[in-house]
Structures are given as C-alpha cells and as structure tokens.
C-alpha cells in the first residue's frame, strides 16, 4: 500500500485536452473518488496511474517512487475496467485466479483457492465459479471483474465505475462491502464514478474534475459544505443545489452574480412568497418544486407536510453560497 501522487499531469488526444495540469496527492490508505461527467478526464486519470497510458508531461509517483517509466505490471496496480474485460474463454474461477498465477507472485495452490473462495463469497458469485465468463449476466461479470482486483494485494486499487451495471440492492451491498474491504485492509483506492451517493458514502477524499482540470480536492463534506464553484457545488447533493440570480433576494455581496441554495439553505415560513408547483412524496423525505419570481427551485420539506400544489410558501436564504459571474465562489 502506498501514497500516490500526480504532479502537473497533462494528456491530450489529438486536439482534445483530456487532462490539463492535474496535481493531487492520494494519501496512503485513502479512498479517493473522482467525480465528473463523461469526458471530464476521470478514466484518463485512472489510466495514467495504471500505466496503460503515458502522460504528455508531468510526473506520477507511487510510494514516493516515480513510476512514469514503469509498465502496469511493474507499478503493481489492480484495475477494474468499466467494460469488465474478463477473459472470455476462461471460467469465473480461472478469471479470478489469473492475477494470482502471475510468475512474479508464485502463489501456492492452497492460497489461491482460499483467496478465490473468500472473494467469491464477498461478491456473492460462489455458485458461478465454474461457469464460463461469457455465460454471466452484466452484473455478475462486473462482480467477477471487481473480484479479479480484490484477490490481489496491490499498491493501489483503480476502479472505473465498478458498480454502474448492478441493480440497486446489490449496489448498496457492495458499496458497504468495498468500503469495509478498504477500511480493513488499509488499501489505497482510486475510484471513478458519476454517482454522487457512491462518492458521499465511500470516499475519504473527492476529486472534482471538469474538462480535464481538477477543480477541487477534499473530503466529501468539504466539497459539499465549501464548494469552490457552481460546478463543484452541483456535483454533490440530492436534490441538486439551486442556482438563481443573486438579486432575487436582498443582501447579496456586490460582486455576486449568482446565489446557490441547497435545500437546507432555504428557510421556509418567512421571507418572500413562492408558489408550490408540485409535491413529491419520496417516503423519507418530501420534495417541493417551487416557482419563485419566474425561477424554478427544488427543496425538501417535512415528510408529512400538508402542503399541496397551488399553495404559497414563504422562503428566505440561510447562509447561502454566492458566486461571481464566472461561477467561482465568493467567500
């Protein structure tokens, strides 16, 4: 296990800047989630650390040693691919054994069997061990592909949207399982997702990427409570942060162009009038779709609220975020 650090890493594919001067330090034993929409450079970052692609400039080190000239095998990284990349002609068991059979490791047979059994148990695929990899469902393939990484003891685990094709229940189970594995083994884990629940529940650190630039790096709470920009603020929080022109409410600083309001930053029952368009009862929470001075916003209210569409609710901001016209946060 080791600390991973990127310094000034850039990579372009033709005219497309996939990564632009990205620097971050992934502390030893941390669970780092990279967040961002498609094309933000998440997978590219992962491939840089794995060694499958080389950066155009910048340096990457694992455990304090520059690995820029090393192959993936020499870097000792385990990677889970988004498209599974199982060995189609092998059985599930053989797929899981594959990394352990590396001549570098010389794992004894009993040890291989124990590890494969253990990982299959965690991922709930024990009954499929003798099936061919191509006979599995998408979710099962994804679990085998996670398993192929977990049987190893690498310097760092790299996972590219490993839970994306699982059903909701299994995804929730594996979220907890992955977090436990990481916490118990002290593994360093770099994880790519666009699912903010995965980021909030598992990450010790979140890196927010935007068009190849790392815009913010910090704990999930830091990013949630102290975002540097509208973009970073929009990555976390369900329902999403509401962005309105700053002059909708009084009291905005002079430079502010936008005001950002998370549901808990909207105080209900006082202030200006807004109009309830729709009420969504989700069980544990109730969402209000409001219309306020021609702007739409979504907030959360008491689950047992008596409000109905057509009602009037008074709202006022409480400790809101202000952003300038470029979207950067004003502090």
């Amino acid at each position: 296990m080791a600390e991973v650090s990127l310094r000034g890493v850039s990579k372009s594919f033709g005219a497309d800047n996939a990564l632009d001067d990205v620097s971050m330090t992934i502390p030893h034993g941390s669970f780092v989630v990279l967040l961002g929409p498609t094309g933000a450079g998440k997978t590219t970052t992962l491939r840089m650390v794995s060694g499958l692609d080389r950066p155009d400039s910048g340096d990457i080190s694992i455990g304090g040693r520059s690995v820029i000239a090393l192959t993936p095998a020499q870097r000792n990284v385990a990677m889970v691919f988004q498209q599974y990349s199982l060995y189609p002609h092998l059985s599930v068991r053989e797929n899981l054994e594959f990394p352990l059979k590396s001549p570098i490791l010389k794992t004894p047979r009993a040890e291989i069997d124990r590890k494969v059994g253990e990982v299959a148990e965690i991922l709930q695929i024990s009954h499929k061990l003798d099936n061919k990899a191509t006979e599995l469902s998408g979710g099962e393939m994804q679990r085998v592909s996670i398993g192929r990484a977990l049987v190893r003891n690498p310097a760092v685990y790299l996972m590219d949207e490993p839970l994306s094709s699982l059903d909701a229940k299994l995804r929730a189970d594996l979220r907890i399982e992955l977090k436990n594995i990481q916490a118990n083994s002290g593994a360093t884990l770099l994880y790519v997702t666009h699912d903010q629940i995965e980021a909030m529940t598992m990450a010790t650190h979140v890196g927010v990427l935007d068009h190849g630039r790392l815009v913010q790096f910090g704990s999930p709470r830091e990013i949630y409570e102290d975002p540097v920009s509208i973009y970073a603020a929009s990555r976390l929080g369900q329902p999403r942060i509401n962005i309105l022109p700053a002059d909708c409410f009084g009291g905005a600083p002079k430079a502010a162009a936008f005001i950002g309001l998370r549901p808990e930053q909207i105080q209900q029952g006082e202030g200006e009038e807004s109009f309830v368009k729709r009420v969504e009862h989700l069980g544990d929470q109730t969402r209000l779709h409001l219309s306020f001075k021609t702007h739409d916003l979504i907030t959360v209210t008491d689950p047992h609220t008596q409000l109905d569409s057509g009602d009037i609710v008074r709202i006022t901001p409480r400790n809101p975020f202000y952003f300038d016209d470029s979207g950067a946060r004003l502090v």
Binding site: P72, F81, Y87, H89, P99, S102, P103, R148
Partner: protein, 315 residues
C-alpha cells in the same frame, strides 16, 4: 380516368390467380422458394453420389456403353484396398496434406500476428500478401514450372544465392526426393495468405481491453500470448485448417500443371490417381469404388474434426 400503376396492375391480374396466391400458406410459399435449390442439389450432387455408389458394385466401363454390365459385389472395394499403387497415392496425399497444413498454419499465423501490429502501410502489405490466393491454381502450377527451371528458374537462382549451391545442379520437379516438396512449397506459397486472413479475423476479434486487463494482472507478453491470444484465435485457426484440409485432400489442378504426378507417380495424389483410373484406364466401376472410399475418408475425418472444433468453441 387516371389510375395509379398499382391499380392498373391489380385490375389486369386475373381474379383467380390473385386469390390463389393469397390463399397460399407461409409453409407453401417457403417450399416454393426452396424447391428449385433442392431439385438442383438432387440433380447435380445427390443423384451422382448415389449413382457412383451403385456403379461401384459393377464392372461397368463408360467407354463400352453397350457391353453387358454385371454385378460384382464388393470385389471392386477389395481390389482398391489391396492395390499397392493406391496406397502409394494415399501416402503422397498424406505427405502433401500434413506438410501444407503445418507450414500454412505456421506461416499464416505468423504473418497475421505481424500484420496485426499497427504499423504504417499494413493495408498495402495485406493486399500484397493475399495476391497469390487470387490466381488460378492452374496458372500458378504452370508458372512455377518456370520458377523451378534449373537453368533459368528464379527459385533455383534464389536457393543458389543464399546457399551457394549450383542452381542447375538440382531440379525441384525432376528429383525424386525434391518433387514431393515442390508441390508443398507452391501450395504453401499460394494458400498461407488464406490462413493469414482467417487468423487476422481472429486476432482482430480480441479487444484491446483484454490485453490491458492482463497487463494490469501482471501477465508477461509471453503469458498473454499463450493464455489469451492462442486460445482465442484457436477456433479460427481450426476452421482455416478444416478448409485447407478438405481443399488439399482433393488437390488436382495445381499439381497436374506443375508435375503432372511425376516423376514416375511420386506426386500422383489420390485425386489425380483416381482421374487416371476413371478417365484414362476407363475402369468406371473400380474408380467408383475408389471415389466412394475417398469420400467416406474425407467425410469421416471432417466429422471428427468438426466435433473437435465445436468443443474448442464451446470451451
């Protein structure tokens, strides 16, 4: 009154015919489409086969159509299987078959492996490499007789260039030791590209991400080759071997043009031998028995092979 063309066709069609076609079931329509093919197949494939089997039990000679034909039972088969000439031809065929397959698999796969490496101009190289395959076998056989020519042949010149042997000191076609190899070389030259194309299809079907996964799983290039490349190309390779095996079992034109079966009958493969029995010696009944034996052999071998191929595919 102006009617659309469709209306005009509808009006011109006799009522009876229209309802008849409408009344056909899907099954009947399917039969209508398939029947011509079945009839042609029966006429030019199945009927001759059955007729050959019938003739193989008689002493019929096609150059004596009016002679009395008598039923000889299994005697033709007995004579074919005890004829030493036929075993010589079988041995020549086996030699040709085994060596062409071994060499074509090795060369074809190697070429495919090299072409599959992304480099500039590999499309051009692919085109150049597959050229021999596009020629007519008879033409290939004919011009290789010139290449093998001891005094002026390019092949002999090339051998002498690399080894220093006097080019006119050996004749690929005339020498009893070299002649069996001369046909192997030409067939390999002509058909290795075919094996290459099929292997290339196999290699291209392996996604890069599988190699990337193996790379991360710390498999060396050597291990990737043996545990990923070979097993995943094997079904394709076996298919190529099946095609080449069947083709070369019935090899005729190329060898007839190149060596004519000589020297002596050293390169007289079974199909050439069979043609001599049937259309030079006119022993039609005997040759029919010979043909049936060859047919059963190929059919049997191919069936066993296809079973093995399916096992590999479903592994």
């Amino acid at each position: 009154m102006s009617a659309s063309p469709l209306d005009q066709v509808a009006a011109a069609t006799p009522v009876q015919m229209a309802t008849k076609i409408k009344g056909l079931s899907d099954r009947a329509i399917a039969w209508i489409f398939v029947t011509p093919t079945i009839l042609i197949l029966l006429a030019i494939n199945i009927f001759p086969l059955i007729w050959t089997i019938r003739l193989s039990f008689t002493d019929f000679r096609v150059n004596r159509p009016n002679a009395e034909v008598s039923w000889v039972g299994l005697r033709n088969y007995e004579r074919v299987l005890t004829d030493p000439d036929i075993w010589t031809a079988m041995q020549a065929t086996a030699h040709f078959l085994i060596w062409t397959i071994v060499l074509q698999v090795l060369i074809g796969f190697t070429l495919a492996y090299l072409i599959n490496k992304k480099f500039r101009g590999n499309d051009l190289w692919t085109t150049i490499i597959v050229l021999p395959m596009m020629l007519s076998p008879a033409v290939v056989g004919n011009f290789w007789t010139f290449l093998y020519q001891p005094q002026i042949g390019l092949f002999n010149y090339a051998v002498s260039f690399f080894t220093g042997i006097d080019p006119s000191s050996f004749s690929m076609i005339g020498d009893v030791n070299l002649a069996p190899w001369s046909i192997v070389i030409v067939d390999t030259w002509m058909w290795s590209p075919f094996v290459m194309l099929i292997c290339l299809a196999g290699l291209r079907s392996i996604p890069d991400s599988i190699y990337e996964a193996a790379e991360c799983d710390r498999a060396s290039k050597w291990r990737q080759f043996w545990t990923i490349t070979i097993p995943m190309v094997l079904p394709f390779l076996m298919l190529a071997v099946l095609f080449r095996g069947i083709e070369n079992f019935k090899m005729f034109d190329l060898v007839v043009q190149l060596t004519g079966g000589g020297p002596g009958s050293l390169t007289e493969l079974s199909s050439i031998n069979l043609k001599r029995e049937a259309f030079e010696k006119w022993r039609t009944g005997y040759a029919s028995a010979y043909a049936v034996i060859l047919f059963v052999t190929v059919f049997g071998l191919a069936s066993i092979y296809v079973k093995a191929l399916n096992r590999v595919k479903n592994r």
